[in-house]
């Protein structure tokens, strides 16, 4: 955090100055470690074992916050009889279809009396899915996609069949209650197991356990901060789940000083997830409709919404979005144009797209401030994809590698591609900087902050708002022009108008301003915020209607333009506010600064302690009071009990803090929503020098694998050839550079501070491999080989794991051949085995070899990689077993 979010780290230091203990878990010793009370070097890819060990410690030593756990988590909920744990099945959960490599998660549901129709349908559908998959020779990606991991990510999942009643045991003794399942599941994650898997000495581990548990409870809270070190794994979503379980057990969610804080790396990466430039989502975490299930609006809301909690109002959110996009064309009679939305059929993520480019189905590509030629895993595959396009549009500040690979990319040097043979047409369009346009970024704590335009951009430089708006206008003009339609053959199939209606009906009129007639960003923000039937700005999502009388471009952002005022541009100095600073900018939803803040008070609505008081129920005024906006109706008393048939927010009780969950509880056990299990389990990474000591199942059985051909994997421990790649490597970022370098390697200041690519190795590894400090090393994987300057440093700690010494190599990933500060891209080495829930790559762990000296040039580079593949006996099958 001190390296990558330095200014945010000042608050960690402020906490330390007030007595907080700071624990840093990282394979490397960094600037954060230097300021922490405890640094815990860990073997990369083993955090579930580490966190699971703490969960076990908490349960074994009864350190959990019992009242919180009983009232606010699903600890007492009873799970159906079909559920079998990894402890029973040697590392897999019940419901696994090995052919399809997919789980039927109806096996993980809450106990709910009679087996209801909805679950029956789901079973049936699963059979279809499996049959289909077998017919297609185990197209497991398709089968797994049918499980829809993207749908339930925000809690919009129904855990209980319709008409069923939750079964609970408040004594927590029932053998099938979540609490008992949790105890059995984590029982083997002992300090000894943690040491054996993670390489963390027992004493260090126990010190961490003590610090965390001593600092949790009524009077104290502990928070976890993480970044992509937890997400870029084939089990990444389950890393976060493990932390969620731990924090829920300790009562550290929804309270000041608690939480699990995702430290995100781009100015508006949170915003681009909320208003998603992501394939699987519509604005506000509404899932994109799926061809298999979502035929019309009613079916969609039925399948993807929940009956209770705030997802119970999903129809209002969807209809308001459709009204924002298609205006008067969207009516109740035509299902509000729901059929205008394109349908998904599987994983359409960025790595699938790269493969589709190689195969030739994806012919055009926009790159908007992204540099996949060096910034995405298996960068070589990305470049081969781009070399097979008809056209590529790059919008950026400078000539990044993704704009110039056709001229000077690595494959030109090796002779695998020849510039004259590449037919891709490339457009480079200079993009405006944040100082040259107005707009909002959403930061890592959900805060929308407005940046105002300071100057006009120069020359051909334009904002992306300008580009999107005028591209849309040009396309609409052309589609409206009969001559153009005839010339392009748009009506050849007789369905041209039907195809183009969604484009032509789109609401696409924005006022313009400035020297380049830029669309007014505040007008777009106002559309995102939404309007009532009279065209007045809405002030919150509770006003949204499902009858078409309201419009709203992103329901969770509703209120950011309340009263016609740009709330994101509020800049009252912090010195003139209380510590929550609620009048600085605007947080979604409804300017709430701490989510699930009902949990900051006890079930009766009193603060858990004076020290940790936040919101509390004022019986005199019959409302919740405190420095923040309540995460629920401010007049809902703690003793409110819903009618059994009540739906939506009123379906939850006055004691249920987790208002996005269908049962209002924090899920220690996730009955739906994850495709790889209701509980986190330690699996070894895709590539590992060690065997999984817990189970016969080595890796995540349902991880996503790319199609054969574009990617090769290493043998793991116990497989012939594993010794060819004996070391672990991990990628990371530096303070002085930014992601793939587009905003840092072209700056003289930053390039001088970190002038070239390097690798970090321990003195012991340097001796073992003959590496010299400041000399060169070549790092090899089955994907490629790269060279780096060697930094020999005791910051890299060799670890003892399963009686063997393992070395880890650190690779900052900012570089490429262009700009002032140059070097090979670490992403050349990485594979694209993916997490099955979110389809992110395992950038944080790979095995490799390292040797002294520079890498070969020209065709010899590929010969070196091929020689390694031969020595390790790597085929297209290697590493692909379940």
């Amino acid at each position: 955090m001190a390296e990558c979010h330095p200014v945010g780290f000042q608050w960690v230091m402020a906490a330390k100055a007030r007595g907080a203990a700071v624990i840093h878990v990282d394979p490397r010793f960094t600037r954060t470690s230097a300021l922490a009370d405890v640094h815990v070097p860990i073997r990369v890819g083993t955090d579930i074992a580490f966190l699971g060990g703490i969960v076990n410690y908490v349960l074994t030593h009864e350190k959990y916050f019992r009242e919180y756990v009983l009232a606010y988590t699903n600890a007492s909920t009873i799970i159906c009889e079909n559920f079998k744990d990894t402890e029973d099945l040697d590392g897999v959960f019940s419901g696994l279809d090995p052919q399809a490599r997919a789980y039927d998660f109806s096996n993980w549901r809450y106990e709910g009396g009679d087996v209801p129709a909805a679950a029956g349908e789901q079973d049936q559908e699963y059979e279809e899915r499996v049959d289909h998959a077998e017919a297609q020779e185990v197209d497991h990606a398709e089968a797994q996609e049918a499980a829809r991991p993207e749908v339930h990510g925000s809690g919009g999942a129904e855990a209980l069949a319709e008409g069923a009643r939750l079964q609970t045991d408040e004594t927590l003794q029932h053998p099938r209650c979540v609490f008992q399942i949790l105890k059995r599941h984590f029982a083997r994650y002992t300090p000894e197991t943690v040491e054996e898997i993670c390489g963390i000495p027992r004493d260090t581990f126990l010190r961490v356990c003590e610090l965390i548990t001593e600092n949790s409870g009524r009077d104290r809270t502990t928070s976890f901060a993480y970044a992509v070190g937890w997400t870029q794994h084939t089990v990444g979503a389950q890393y976060i789940r493990t932390a969620s379980i731990l924090q829920a057990l300790l009562g550290n969610i929804g309270r000041p000083g608690g939480g699990i804080l995702a430290l995100r790396g781009h100015a508006s990466i949170q915003g681009s997830t909320d208003i998603p430039t992501l394939y699987n989502l519509l604005p506000g975490y509404i899932p994109m409709p799926h061809a298999h299930q979502n035929e019309d609006l009613d079916a969609f809301v039925e399948a993807e919404g929940a009956r209770k909690g705030y997802w119970g109002n999903m129809r209002a959110y969807v209809v308001s979005l459709l009204k924002a996009w298609w205006g008067d064309a969207a009516t109740a009679d035509n299902d509000f144009c729901f059929d205008y939305l394109p349908r998904l059929t599987g994983d359409h993520g960025t790595y699938q797209t790269a493969q589709a480019q190689v195969e030739g189905t994806c012919k055009g590509y926009f790159l908007l401030g992204e540099n996949p030629a060096v910034g995405s895993a298996n960068a070589r595959l990305q470049r081969f994809g781009m070399a097979n396009l008809d056209w590529l549009v790059v919008r950026d500040f400078s000539l990044i590698e993704s704009a110039t690979w056709w001229k000077d990319g690595p494959e030109i040097e090796t002779g695998e591609l020849r510039t004259e043979d590449i037919r891709t047409e490339v457009f480079f369009l200079p993009a405006a900087a944040h100082t040259e346009k107005s707009g909002s970024f959403t930061n890592t704590q959900r805060l929308l902050q407005w940046h105002r335009q300071a100057v006009e951009p120069r020359g051909d430089t334009r904002s992306d708002l300008w580009f999107a708006y005028y591209l849309g206008r040009l396309i609409r003009d052309k589609l409206s022009d009969p001559a153009h339609r005839a010339r392009m053959g748009l009506d050849a199939d007789g369905r041209g108008i039907e195809r183009d209606r969604p484009v032509l009906d789109l609401t696409w009129d924005y006022p313009t301003e400035g020297g380049y007639d830029d669309p007014d960003a505040e007008a777009v923000l106002a559309e995102i915020n939404g309007f009532d039937a009279h065209g007045h700005p809405l002030s919150g999502y509770t006003q949204l209607k499902d009858d078409g009388s309201t419009s709203c471009g992103c329901w969770i952002y509703c209120g950011v333009y309340a009263d016609g005022v740009n709330q994101a541009d509020r800049r009252k100095p912090y010195t003139e506010q209380d510590w929550v600073a609620a009048e600085w900018a605007w947080a979604w939803p409804l300017n709430r600064r701490i989510l699930y803040n009902r949990a900051s008070a006890d079930p009766e609505g009193r603060p858990w302690s004076e020290r940790k008081a936040y919101l509390e129920w004022d019986p005199e005024r019959r409302k919740w009071v405190g420095p923040d906006v309540p995460d629920f109706d401010e007049h809902m008393p703690p003793d409110y009990e819903p009618h059994p048939d009540a739906t939506g927010p009123e379906g939850l009780s006055g004691k249920d803090p987790f208002v996005m969950q269908s049962d209002g509880k924090a899920w220690l056990y996730a009955p739906v929503g994850l495709v790889d299990g209701p509980l986190p389990t330690h699996y070894e990474p895709q590539e590992s020098p060690f065997t999984n000591p817990l189970y016969g199942q080595q890796r995540n059985p349902v991880r996503n694998m790319p199609k054969p051909g574009g990617d090769f994997f290493h043998p793991s421990d116990g497989e012939p050839g594993a010794e060819v790649f004996p070391y672990l490597a991990t990628t990371y970022r530096l303070t002085e550079h930014h992601t793939a370098g587009g905003m840092s390697r072209w700056l003289p200041y930053l390039s001088e501070l970190q002038p070239e690519f390097f690798c970090e190795v321990s003195p012991e590894l340097a001796r073992e491999r003959g590496l010299e400090h400041l000399g060169w090393a070549t790092i090899v994987s089955a994907r490629s080989a790269i060279e780096a300057r060697v930094l020999v440093t005791e910051r890299m700690t060799p670890l003892d794991v399963q009686g063997r010494r393992v070395h880890q190599i650190g690779l900052p990933y900012h570089w490429g051949p262009n700009g002032y500060s140059t070097g090979d891209a670490a992403n050349e080495l990485l594979h694209i085995a993916l997490d099955p829930n979110v389809h992110i790559q395992e950038s944080k762990v790979l095995t490799c070899d390292i040797r002294p000296g520079r890498r070969p040039r020209g065709p010899a580079l590929r010969e070196l990689v091929n020689e390694y593949r031969r020595r390790a006996g790597i085929t297209e099958e290697t590493g692909r077993q379940m």
Binding site: T277, L282, T345, G369, E370, H434, Q449, R571, H738, P748
Partner: protein, 189 residues
């Protein structure tokens, strides 16, 4: 200036004889010191902004003179950053005004070996034509089981984490209406 004035203007003399015995205040000031002005002092305006690098979201003050950005500093009002910026944020002036910025459209024709210049309007028109064509080529009305898809696999987009919310909103809206589904950004990378 007489010799007495000359001697008494020496900083060391003033340090030894004046009130500033540690030499860290008035004694250390010279005529040149008196002439120094902060480079932001003559700005025409100060524009409130937010750092474009990581997601902490530090406040920035952008100083403008004669229509040009002259300095970018931390905003002391921000409850997040309280005026601080990291090395990247402190380099924002160079990011936005440095020699790295290109300001003309460049074009590489199929099989071409060099960049060519193209005017912006022509480029926009060509891109619009290409989107329409790729959309049509990759169009899918339904899947192999007859379920409606109404989409195109002909073009894709990557990017958004560095963009404004309003920009992402327009891209998502336009591309989705065109039937494109392969719309992605750094959040999955």
């Amino acid at each position: 200036m007489g010799i007495g004035d000359w001697v008494s203007s020496w900083p060391v003399y003033r340090q030894l004889t004046g009130a500033d015995r540690t030499g860290r205040g008035a004694a250390a000031r010279s005529a040149r010191t008196e002439r120094l002005r902060p480079r932001v002092a003559d700005a025409d305006k100060v524009v409130k902004s937010i750092c474009p690098y990581c997601a902490v979201g530090c406040g920035q003050n952008v100083y403008v003179r004669d229509g040009k950005v002259t300095q970018v500093e931390g905003d002391p009002d921000s409850p997040i950053s309280r005026g601080r910026l990291c090395p990247k944020g402190s380099a924002t002036l160079q990011l936005t005004t440095g020699p790295n910025r290109l300001d003309t459209v460049l074009y590489r024709r199929p099989h071409g070996t060099e960049w060519e210049h193209l005017d912006l309007d022509t480029a926009m028109d060509m891109i619009a034509d290409r989107v329409i064509a790729a959309r049509l080529t990759g169009w899918e009305w339904e899947d192999d089981q007859g379920r409606p898809l109404r989409r195109t696999m002909g073009f894709a987009s990557l990017g958004g984490a560095t963009l404004d919310n309003e920009e992402n909103y327009l891209f998502k809206k336009l591309f989705t209406a065109l039937g494109a589904i392969q719309i992605e950004n750094q959040a999955r990378i």
